[in-house]
Symmetry: C2
Subunit: 326 residues, 2 copies
């Protein structure tokens, strides 16, 4: 259920194409994140190590792209804030999932326990608001606050749906929309609002769609592996009781999957279930749906009133979501 | 480390003295909390059960008292927001402390696991911001955001200091200030700001002091018991590795306490350590310091520019902090 593991090729493709403003914006975000995490003397080695562990900064990139060259400091702050919310949600997700590894490294949950992981996540989360409050970005605070409520709803939905093999496609998309689509959407809206307040419906849909595509492809990767690429065991979602679209799709042709006892799974038997899911062709099917969603996202950009460079860059990052999984 | 267990006598004393506006304000807060917890269809039985479990709404009461009869809807929203932050921090604290019981009832941590407790806390926390955002209370958002960062710093400080028998008094007060004093302070500042923006230095100090006194008395209660009153085992803090002022004070006259192996404590041996702390007279000493802090808080109200009724009510609630422990 938790995205982002591979190398940052799509990001490079976008920064190579964009003007220097994007590279500068991303650097400003990076500097701002380092300051934010360490702010007020509240030095937290855990938060700093999460920051250093990297990530592609996909969400800040979306903020900056949707803002364009004139986004300025407000876009940078929004990028920092969105990434902090993302980091907070990763740390708390690892508590929810009792995840031992992320990107091949021990999680805060694993190295410091659920208590400390909860506290670190809280700190990151609170700091996300602080960054916007300090900048006086009222509309952005509203957007992040709504987003945070939705993320928490998504977390709860995941807990409630855990070990439910009969999770419907609708429930999967609702959960993914809340847990992943919503923050991608917020990134786009926040960026766009720095230059065109109140004109973000189309851009919000773009963000939501690529977030869903991102999640679907990430869920495929959890089943397909390989471990060397994902930095965690195959079937980690299933081991957590999290049913995803590949499973739902596979169970349509192999209804025996609905008899699997998720509570009894270990890494070996999870591997077998992954093979069984892959054997149904469900992975290709979900990949194709994700690609379709990306195409929809790009096509939907028509009425957004973007200039050519912006549109090109957004298409590029949308394609990047697919590329990193191919 | 986690306050609030006994019956609501101090609250009753204050509401009996105040005009009808206070009772109405508290009812509006209660109604608003019920709506907030259930908002957006994100029904969470856990959050609702926490709300129903009660609590004295000490912080909303402070908001309303510092606002006075003209606080209006903004004071009610601030009261709701502060209580939501408090509830969120209780739920996350129970994850940190792996606490089985609160007010004699199983915690969300115990009944639903750390994952769900983390998610419920996140939801409450995000909702605290939403309430203020919806009301357009910009200054309040700033205050709550700063407070939230401080609470998280306090949580982390508690984790870092866990099982450190040599915790200094200074560290104890810094941690208590962040974890408890800060939110009491925010409650007072938020209330005051609804009617007198920018005039909250004195009132902020009042809040901080009674928060610290509250924490000290709560820490005494953790050592003194009895279980029937606290709804949890004596020495729960010690069992969590949390060193508090009674322990620090006791170790000054009984340095053998510094040799206790906190990691090896069980309920029986924790009970013995509690008796040993009590035997030094440290409990009376800490109680006296708390009472002194309350007196300081009341005396400090002089330059606050309050009318007579407001001052009387604030003195009454300050005394109430002591009364609930006597």
């Amino acid at each position: 259920m938790t995205p982002e593991r591979s190398a940052p090729e799509p990001v490079t493709a976008v920064t190579d194409t964009a003007g220097a403003w994007l590279t500068k914006g991303l650097k400003d975000v990076e500097d701002g994140l380092a300051i934010a995490v360490d702010r007020g003397g509240a030095l937290s080695e855990d938060a700093i190590s999460i920051l250093k562990a990297g990530g592609k900064r996909m969400r800040p990139m979306l903020v900056l792209l949707c803002a364009g060259p004139d986004g300025g400091a407000a876009a940078v702050r929004a990028g920092i804030s969105v990434e902090l919310v993302h980091m907070a949600s990763l740390v708390h997700d690892d508590v929810l999932d009792r995840a031992p590894l992320r990107r091949g490294e021990p999680t805060v949950f694993a190295s410091a326990g659920p208590g400390r992981a909860t506290a670190v996540g809280d700190q990151l989360f609170a700091t996300a608001f602080r960054v916007l409050v300090d900048g006086g970005d009222q509309a952005a605070i509203t957007e992040i606050s709504r987003t945070a409520v939705d993320l928490a709803r998504g977390e709860l939905m995941q807990r409630r749906g855990a070990f439910n093999l009969k999770l419907s496609e609708g429930e999967y998309f609702e959960r993914s929309g809340l847990k992943t689509g919503r923050l991608f959407e917020a990134a786009c809206v926040l960026g766009r609002s720095t230059v065109n307040p109140g004109q973000s419906d189309v851009i919000s849909q773009f963000g939501h769609r690529i977030g869903l595509a991102f999640q679907m492809l990430d869920d495929v990767l959890d089943i397909s592996g390989p471990v060397e690429r994902t930095g965690k065991a195959r079937g980690t979602d299933l081991l957590d009781g999290t049913v995803t679209l590949p499973f739902i799709a596979a169970a349509e042709s192999d209804s025996g999957l609905l008899e699997v006892d998720l509570h009894a799974l270990d890494e070996g038997s999870a591997d077998e279930v992954c093979d069984r899911i892959a054997g149904t062709g469900a992975l290709d099917q979900v990949r194709a749906r994700a690609v379709g969603m990306i195409e929809e996202a790009k096509a939907g950009l028509g009425p957004a009133g973007l200039d050519d460079e912006q549109r090109q860059l957004l298409e590029l990052i949308a394609d990047g979501v697919v590329l990193r999984y191919s």
